[in-house]
């Protein structure tokens, strides 16, 4: 939470960035409010809203019952009536109970009526924390097929803030995927800029010439690590951070692949119909005549995410696999 104390802290984490961006938007716009389980006095399960209750009061920091369906539908109603709710799901996994109001009420309302539904759905998501099958899910594929939703997945501290600001200001329902794994692992020196980062614009996170790695969220960090290792072998990897999955900045991806002629798509979600399938299909169609190797997907196995460390590690993509795959594709 951006209290004065922390403004002068030396480092800002990915988690701090979300907290600061949210507080800034609540300061800026009276119609923005936060709702979810335990977000009030308690500051939320991950402490994103620590101190918010003191700062904004119970009117704008709203503790809800354990009623994901009901409070999400309620957020839709509040948005239709002019507010800009930010909904915190305690874990992204619980959004399964809100699937219906998200896809049937929120996502289709503007198309049907012309009335915008500006709701930001904040979802702490992903694995690697030994939290098991129902606390580690990557949820983007449940929603990416649904017209009318935007999906945002920051990979850096700066984007965690900048993209959240844009998501809140956006007039559409936005699924904002926060990496639990990165929350306290990524840090940058303070202070953090609180400028919006536009939605729908991918970023070349690292330039390269031999192979393009397309990813988002924690995968971008893995990709950068892998690229660093491969650089020492003389393999030059271009890393693209999608930042926004919907809308997808396919132009930036296609431009890179046309340059490198090779593409690998990486995510932590299970392989089958992971978002990588969409990205790979688009690349395959748009870059067919430029490709020197098949577009290759790296993803989790098609299993639930196990809890126990040796099992979870075996199911989720590890950096070693990313390095090997990139090497193989680059040299093929």
């Amino acid at each position: 939470m951006p209290t004065n104390k922390e403004q002068v802290a030396e480092e800002v984490t990915y988690l701090d960035a979300i907290s600061q961006a949210l507080a800034a938007e609540m300061e800026r716009d009276e119609s923005v409010f936060l709702m979810g389980e335990d977000v009030g006095q308690f500051g939320g399960a991950f402490k994103i809203s620590k101190g918010f209750m003191e700062r904004f009061g119970a009117r704008r920091v709203v503790d809800t019952p354990i009623a994901e369906n009901g409070f999400t539908g309620m957020a839709a109603g509040a948005a239709i009536c002019g507010l800009r709710p930010v909904v915190e799901f305690q874990f992204a996994d619980f959004i399964s109970q809100a699937f219906d109001p998200i896809i049937n009420v929120m996502a289709r309302h503007h198309y049907r009526t012309g009335v915008p539904v500006p709701v930001t759905l904040r979802c702490p998501f992903g694995g690697r924390l030994r939290a098991g099958p129902t606390h580690s899910q990557s949820i983007e594929s449940y929603f990416a097929h649904v017209p009318g939703l935007k999906i945002v997945a920051p990979a850096t501290v700066e984007d965690a803030a900048g993209l959240l600001i844009s998501s809140i200001r956006d007039n559409n329902p936005v699924l904002f995927l926060e990496s639990k794994y990165l929350y306290r692992r990524l840090k940058v020196p303070a202070p953090l800029s609180l400028e919006p980062t536009p939605l729908g614009v991918a970023k070349v996170a690292r330039e390269g010439t031999d192979v393009t790695l397309v990813s988002y969220s924690v995968g971008v960090q893995q990709g950068l690590e892998a690229a660093e290792v491969l650089a020492r072998e003389g393999i030059s990897v271009e890393v693209i951070d999608c930042r926004t999955l919907v809308p997808l900045d396919i132009d930036t991806i296609v431009k890179s692949v046309k340059k490198t002629s090779r593409a690998v798509v990486l995510h932590e979600a299970a392989r089958r119909l992971g978002y990588g399938a969409e990205i790979a299909s688009e690349i395959g169609e748009a870059c067919f005549w430029f490709l020197d190797a098949p577009v290759t997907r790296i993803a989790a196995l098609n299993t639930p995410i196990p809890t126990s460390p040796p099992l979870e590690d075996a199911v989720l993509p590890q950096t070693e696999e990313v390095i090997e795959t990139l090497r193989k594709v680059a040299r093929s």
Partner: protein, 337 residues
């Protein structure tokens, strides 16, 4: 909180001496109920003539509920209707031809043909356009109620749902949230004895109005064929809501006199049940009441009936003549700017 609330638009409707003392109001209510009946009868004919895109849902015997509730709140309040509530749309100002246009998929329908049949609303009239899923309009209504409270305004949200919909989790979560947050929300349960083919005994083992106690909110039961009773119960719930006293559940008991929709002959409904309820036509009952009250003569009532019949006929004509949408810009509007 209540004392500092900003006034919403629309005049408050709590005539001294009750609704029956207000002749103008009573006549407008009667006309709207009669118009609902006329419009829906016309739509049934249109369905039978194969003019409609899909099936037609009617609110026969629901007119007192739709109109009695809508009349007791303000135009600025957030109205979240379902498929039996044509009278509430009409009260708010939705023209009959536009409802028909929705069932015809016309460009002039409220969604321009993007949605259609029973799924329509008018944002400018503060009428929410529900999606198919029942009762997804109920959490949405609590959100509207939340917005009024958040802004310190004295508006309220009113939503409708059927007996069947009460078995659904969305209803429960919203009722509970509204109670806990003391939201200005009115929950209208339209108990019409059936949910599609499902009779009450397969829907619930408790009276609907009694469910309110489980949420710590008042629950009242009214005769859903009595427009005055519905009006008064709604007016009291509205008073509570605006005073910051929280939500109310009102169970309005009536009968679904047609099939679930016109494709459904409803052979599962006992004929005696229909015969019994046929004696309690809310439009007829209100007409009789108006005469007894001296608000209208038989001739005046007949004139209103003829007038709404003509309006329904004209509506059909306009709706049928209206253009179908053209598939240009079909991808626009998926996202708001």
């Amino acid at each position: 909180m209540a004392t500092t609330r900003k006034k919403t638009t629309g005049k408050s409707k709590s005539p001294a001496g009750g609704v029956t003392a207000d002749r103008e109001l009573c006549l407008k209510m009667f006309r709207t109920m009669a118009l609902q009946r006329a419009v829906e009868d016309r739509m049934v004919t249109m369905y039978r003539q194969g003019e409609m895109l899909g099936s037609v849902y009617t609110g026969h015997w629901h007119e007192a509920i739709a109109v009695g509730t809508a009349a007791a709140i303000r135009q600025g309040d957030f109205l979240c209707p379902l498929h039996r509530d044509v009278g509430a749309h009409l009260w708010r100002g939705m023209p009959p031809w536009q409802i028909m246009a929705s069932f015809l998929g016309k460009a002039t329908g409220p969604t321009g043909g993007r949605d259609g049949t029973l799924h329509y609303g008018r944002p400018d009239l503060n009428i929410y356009n529900p999606c198919s899923h029942v009762p997804d309009n109920v959490p949405v209504a609590t959100g509207g109620a939340f917005a009024f409270k958040y802004r310190g305004e004295d508006g309220l949200a009113l939503c409708y749902f059927g007996d069947g919909a009460t078995g659904n989790g969305g209803y429960h979560e919203a009722m509970n949230i509204a109670a806990v947050m003391s939201l200005p929300c009115i929950f209208i349960c339209e108990n019409n004895q059936f949910a599609y083919s499902t009779p009450l005994r397969l829907t619930t083992h408790a009276d609907f109005y009694k469910k309110a106690a489980g949420y710590g909110m008042p629950g009242v039961k009214v005769d859903g064929t009595d427009a005055v009773a519905v009006y008064e119960a709604t007016a009291e719930a509205a008073r509570r809501a605006r005073a910051g006293e929280g939500p109310t559940l009102i169970e309005c008991v009536t009968m679904r006199m047609h099939g679930h929709a016109e494709h459904d002959p409803a052979s599962y409904v006992p004929r005696e049940m229909l015969a019994e309820w046929a004696k309690r036509d809310p439009v007829e009952l209100f007409a009789a009441r108006l005469q007894k009250l001296g608000h209208a003569t038989e001739a005046e009532i007949a004139a209103i009936r003829e007038n709404v019949r003509q309006e329904a006929l004209a509506a059909r004509k306009k709706a049928l003549g209206d253009p179908m949408p053209v598939a240009t810009n079909i991808e626009e509007g998926v996202y708001a700017d």
